[in-house]
């Protein structure tokens, strides 16, 4: 409680068992048995630099040398920045062909910083005083006097404001303080428009042709051979459109062709065209592009969390954290021989959300 008690208590604590045992056992020899006696600091040992002035001079020169090297390295850093062309590539043995400028800047700045640190450490270890000193913490509690003053102040304040007797003011004030944070909560509504049906719909619609992402040409069934992998986007979506990234993030399509006899899921086979299956490329776990396709096993693997889907079995989840199979797009071929979609995905693509159902 009292401010002076801190250090004293510490001392009492250390000697407490000894004192108590001394009273009960009434022997001085008991004090010798105290297993927790504070051994105190060992006697101070001088360093070589403390007793030998020549060693101290040597240390001084070493520290000064390190600081000088740092200065030179900084000058070299500036010189390299000015002199070396940014495109210059040099071969440096273990690293290979690296940028000369990057290498020079890294090495010189590294030396400049390291030698400052090394100099400071060498200085403090060899020349600065190494006598251990104890600095006691100041007491945390305020003095009794200060405490009494602040209590009196508080009492005077409540009396003068009459918050205790004027009940209507006290209650309305509490009401106002309770309500005012609601304003901030209401503002959260303005964080953005509600998602609406954006999570459920993609750009795919009945009649949209499947466009090859590589060539921008509509795909024909004959282009897609067994064992091949291709990526398609819906007709009308062009790279560079202002909404391209938003739309492709939902509509990205992965096309594979599997021998119809190898397709285990009948519905999946019906939704494809002669073994060509069109699956969403967006993982149903957290929406990574899932397209590590193994053409012999028909497994497709997500690079983020290793969810594995079996494309020959309706993109069933074989492994990993994904919760749903990849949605499949119904496709068929039109009179001109091009593949087109028979509608949008019949379930939301990508990761689950609260209202997905």
């Amino acid at each position: 409680m009292s401010s002076q008690a801190g250090p004293d208590n510490e001392n009492n604590g250390e000697h407490l068992p000894t004192v108590r045992e001394g009273e009960e056992g009434k022997g001085v020899a008991v004090e010798e048995r105290d297993p927790f006696a504070n051994p105190g600091l060992p006697p101070h040992e001088p360093r070589k630099q403390d007793i030998d002035e020549r060693a101290a001079k040597r240390s001084e020169r070493t520290v000064a040398l390190l600081f000088t090297v740092s200065m030179l390295a900084t000058v070299a850093f500036i010189a390299a920045f000015v002199a070396i062309d940014v495109d210059k590539i040099v071969y440096i043995f273990p690293l290979g062909r690296v940028s000369a400028l990057n290498f020079a800047l890294g090495v010189t700045l590294g030396i400049a910083l390291f030698t400052i640190g090394a100099g400071a450490i060498h200085w403090s270890r060899t020349l600065m005083s190494d006598v251990e000193v104890i600095q006691e913490r100041h007491p945390i509690a305020a003095t009794e006097e200060t405490e009494a003053i602040s209590k009196a102040d508080w009492r005077q304040g409540t009396e003068e404001s009459a918050i205790g007797s004027r009940k209507i003011i006290r209650r309305t004030m509490l009401g106002a303080l309770t309500l005012v944070p609601l304003a901030g909560v209401v503002l959260l509504r303005d964080l953005g428009p509600l998602p609406g049906t954006k999570l459920r719909e993609t750009m795919w619609a009945k009649g949209k042709l499947l466009i090859n992402m590589n060539t921008d040409e509509p795909l024909r069934p004959a282009d897609i051979t067994v064992g091949s992998l291709s990526f398609a986007k819906p007709e009308g979506l062009k790279e560079g459109d202002h909404n391209f990234n938003n739309e492709i993030a939902k509509a990205a399509l992965m096309l594979v062709r599997i021998h119809p006899g190898d397709i285990k899921d009948r519905k999946s086979a019906d939704w494809g065209h002669e073994g060509i299956l069109a699956y969403s490329k967006i993982c149903t776990h957290v929406g990574c592009p899932v397209s590590l396709y193994e053409q012999q096993t028909h497994h497709v693997l997500c690079p983020c969390h290793q969810s594995t889907f079996d494309l020959s079995d309706g993109a069933r989840v074989l492994f990993g954290p994904a919760g749903h199979p990849l949605p499949q797009l119904r496709i068929t071929v039109n009179d001109e021989g091009y593949l087109y979609a028979l509608g949008d995905f019949d379930e939301p693509v990508g990761p689950s959300f609260w209202e997905r159902g």
Binding site: E45, I89, V98, N214, E294, Q295, F319
Partner: protein
């Protein structure tokens, strides 16, 4: 003669006799055996097919069947084309050393002429992609930037952004593409070896393939530049972060311990 009979009970005598007998038999066979009727057909193509068939029977038929029709140990080779043979054999993946998750790259034991003969034979089994011309896969003829785009769309999911490769399921993996012959890159894209999907010309045109090869040559070829120095396998921020936390911080901790462990006192305890 006395010298010879004195050594007839030497432990190695039997071995010497055996070697002499084998050499004699082999020599006699080589002298009197009927010579091959390879000269009968004159065109070099059919000659290559015939030579290829002989090589096929020795090196490939045990798994792929005597006519390349496939067996329980290996797929049918009808229609895989010369490009597939050139890729698989020239990179040493075939003949397979043992069945496993995936055929690894290993030193190739065939000459290019023998590979061409094998390829001609397999191509004769059914139509398939031919070995590409150098003008199709020369990295100098490709657009590096466009190739990077195409690589990230079609290939990077398995082979990593700069072609360093990565793991797949059950011990399979996408190999590192650094230093691979551009011809083999082209053939791999076209034929889809093992679990790699194929990218036929209609899906990824010959120009697209050349652009991808140009990109891979830029980031992983012999002359590839790494301006930053330590690429740490080119595996992205995860490996870089791991290196900084484990080795960078580890080195600092070790250095700190080393500094404080050494006593600065004149009298060493």
């Amino acid at each position: 003669m006395k010298k010879l009979s004195a050594r007839r009970r030497h432990p190695l005598a039997a071995l010497v006799v055996l070697l002499i007998a084998l050499a004699a038999t082999g020599g006699l066979y080589a002298t009197f055996a009927p010579t091959g009727k390879a000269q009968a057909e004159e065109t070099s193509q059919s000659l290559a097919v015939e030579e290829g068939q002989k090589l096929f029977r020795v090196g490939c038929a045990s798994c792929h069947g005597t006519g390349g029709q496939g067996s329980s140990d290996g797929p049918s080779l009808v229609g895989v084309g010369a490009a597939a043979v050139d890729f698989q054999v020239a990179t040493g993946r075939m003949p397979l050393q043992q069945q496993g998750a995936q055929a690894p790259k290993k030193p190739n034991i065939y000459t290019q002429k023998e590979i061409d003969q094998l390829a001609a034979y397999v191509a004769s089994l059914g139509p398939g992609p031919a070995v590409p011309e150098e003008s199709q896969y020369d990295p100098a003829g490709g657009d590096v930037a466009r190739g990077g785009d195409l690589f990230r769309t079609n290939c990077a999911q398995c082979h990593n952004f700069t072609g360093k490769g990565g793991a797949l399921t059950d011990g399979k993996y996408a190999p590192n593409i650094d230093g691979v012959d551009p011809k083999h890159m082209y053939e791999a894209m076209q034929t889809g070896p093992q679990n790699m999907p194929s990218f036929p010309d209609k899906l990824l045109t010959t120009t697209d393939k050349q652009d991808i090869i140009a990109y891979l040559d830029e980031v992983g070829g012999d002359e590839a530049e790494s301006p930053g120095g330590f690429s740490l396998g080119g595996l992205g921020p995860v490996s870089e972060g791991l290196f900084a936390w484990v080795f960078g911080l580890g080195a600092l901790v070790v250095l700190t311990i080393w500094i404080t462990a050494r006593s600065a006192k004149a009298r060493k305890s």
